[in-house]
Amino acid sequence: MNRLCLLAAAATLFAAPAFAQDDTITIGMTNSLTGPLNVDSLGLQRGEEYWRDEVNAAGGIKAGGKSYKVKFVTYDDQSVGGRVQQLYTRLVNQDHAQFLFSPYSSGLTAAAAVISEQYGKIMIDAGGAEKKPFLLGNKYLFMVITQADDYLAGAIKALAQKNPHARVAMVYSDDPFSKTVLAAAKGQAKDAGLDVVMDESYAPSTTDFGPIVNKIISSNADAFLGGGHYSDGATLARQMYDQRANMKWISILVAPGDDKFAELGGAALGVTVPSQWEPQVSYKPDFGPTTAEFAKGFEAKFHAKADYHAASGYASGAILQHAIEQAQSIEPEKVVAALNATDVTTFFGRVKFSTDPASHGLQVAHQMVLAQWQKSDDKLVRQVVWPQQAASAPLIYPISASQ
């Protein structure tokens, strides 16, 4: 009798998780809970978590007559590329993740993509904009955000319209993402007839930009494009302001996209940032929540305003959900086919992936906007200023006009 009871208990123990497994989709990812990428990664993570909670609250992802609840398995990659490959291998082999979300940043995503391809796992990339991993013939990697080459395209068009003879200084962090963005921007600037008078990268660990700002002043530039990630971009903005570099135009990557950038006060005023998404832009979604619903729900959950990292995190989940529901299956090959056929507009914008084998999975439809820090009711706010049809406020040029 005792043996029977033991057998029954053991059967229950083994059967219950197996049953739960059937109706659960496990998505694995790493986040940078510690290290220099923490701020940007946190936004992405929150967006993904918000999507998961919303989907589960609505009963899960519906496919093939079943409703799949979403379960996340996450690890802290400490913002270190070396940790990413270990952890994604663990996510696949030990945690049996069926799908993967990318880590934050191009470098970490490139490292994780090696593992996702090796094990044939679909990875939705909302954290790395560099296109290099997409030119390697990968089949399971899909980018929902605009690629790095197009980051500053809008800024250059807007600048060329305001000043066709602008003298541009390009100073950027010596990391793969920033170098890719600025290399493309240099070509776009020349095509637009702008004069690139300085083109230099700095070590990501640079703490004092004083001599660099002097060099920018010496170059006679009147427009600045550059930066890299959070800390360096903010320091550059402050030192250009403190040293009165008198730029008529400043576009900085990433850092001004965070609300804490407003802490720089006068140094933030007039600074523009290419953004994957801003709450003022309203697309008519074919799938998922509207911009207002997303922004309101996110703020209620996290007591913080959604930025573009959060929006792209949510979008990565929504696009995977859309593909699974279109495929009516969670089998990888069927979901890959559905992702290849995806052409959908969410609150984040239109998403469509390249199906060309030479650039498979690269984002080809999503568009960036350009946001500018402006004064409104004596407060600093980010306004969408480009493209003009999506603008929430007119672009201020030169910067001195906004002081």
Binding site: G35, N38, A203, T207, G210, S231, A234, Q243, G265
Partner: protein, 287 residues
């Protein structure tokens, strides 16, 4: 030409602050042969003390200097008893590991509390302009305060009874004990002074640049370079090393791509180590 002169002046201004930051590291090394790997985090501690006192309590930024100095001293004495005291007289690797462990804990706590979000303390002081180049008032004042504090440290070490006792302990600990100097107490005071200097330099840096919990790494690295340039265990040399590093950064940047600045800095670091293993102005054991 004006641009080069401006970069050199900028280099001297920032170099004085680098020098002050390195003085804390070299003081502790000079007195007890301990490399304090919490140094960068203590600099960040000064930055956050500035932020909290100036933003939360509304204190004028420069009035936060005395509380940061006192707070840094107290934290330093606590650090001595927690991580250094038991390592005295043991191989240098032991104190290196113990301070490294404390550093990891402090960074973990800091990241847990504030993440790696950016903090900024805006200081508005009239600057000085030469042609198109401006030297912000905050930079000039930070450099002046760094030089003043370095001068006061020199006077403390050479003109006060406590300072002389510290130098005696640095020179020969056993002999100092034989003449009745309470060496343990003085070692704790030395760590207190070293951390207080790190905190004050952090407070001054916080008035110049935005910062995060992780900003200390860069300044700790610079402090090592400055210490090597200035001579291990020589606080006055550290100030000169800081100015030398600042001048180097200022002199190199106008002529080479900025990404080469670090390469040149660390090439010089290695060359100095080869030519002068104890640093250029080494006066071991004499402070």
């Amino acid at each position: 030409m004006l641009g080069i002169i401006a970069s050199l002046i900028d280099g001297v201004l920032v170099g004085l602050v680098y020098g002050l930051a390195a003085m804390g590291l070299t003081l502790i090394w000079g007195v007890m042969d301990v490399i304090n790997l919490t140094h960068g985090t203590m600099i960040v501690g000064g930055m956050f003390a500035l932020y909290l006192l100036a933003t939360a309590l509304g204190m004028p930024p420069y009035l936060t200097l005395p509380p940061v100095l006192i707070g840094g001293f107290v934290v330093g004495v606590a650090l001595y008893w927690v991580a250094v005291h038991r390592m005295i007289g043991r191989p240098p690797l032991m104190s290196l590991l113990s301070t490294f462990a404390v550093n990891l804990m402090l960074i973990g706590i800091g990241t847990g509390l504030w993440g790696t979000a950016l903090f900024n303390v805006s200081v508005s002081l009239p600057g000085l302009s030469i042609g198109r180049y401006t030297f912000p008032g905050a930079h000039i004042l930070a450099a002046a305060l760094a030089a003043l504090i370095a001068g006061l440290l020199y006077l403390f070490l050479h003109k006060t009874r406590l300072g002389k006792a510290l130098r005696a302990v640095a020179n020969n600990r056993e002999a100092a004990e034989l003449v009745g100097i309470p060496t343990t107490k003085l070692l704790a005071i030395a760590v207190g002074c070293g951390v207080a200097l790190a905190g004050v330099s952090g407070m001054l840096i916080g008035t110049l640049f935005p910062f995060t919990v992780l900003s200390g790494d860069g300044y700790q690295l610079k402090s090592f370079v400055v210490t090597v340039l200035g001579g291990f265990g020589n606080p006055v040399g550290a100030l000169m090393g800081g100015v030398a590093l600042g001048l180097l950064e200022g002199a190199v940047t106008p002529f080479v791509p900025v990404s080469w600045t670090l390469v040149i800095e660390f090439a010089l670091f290695v060359l100095v180590l080869i030519a002068f293993p104890n640093g250029i102005f080494a006066r071991r054991g004499a402070l």
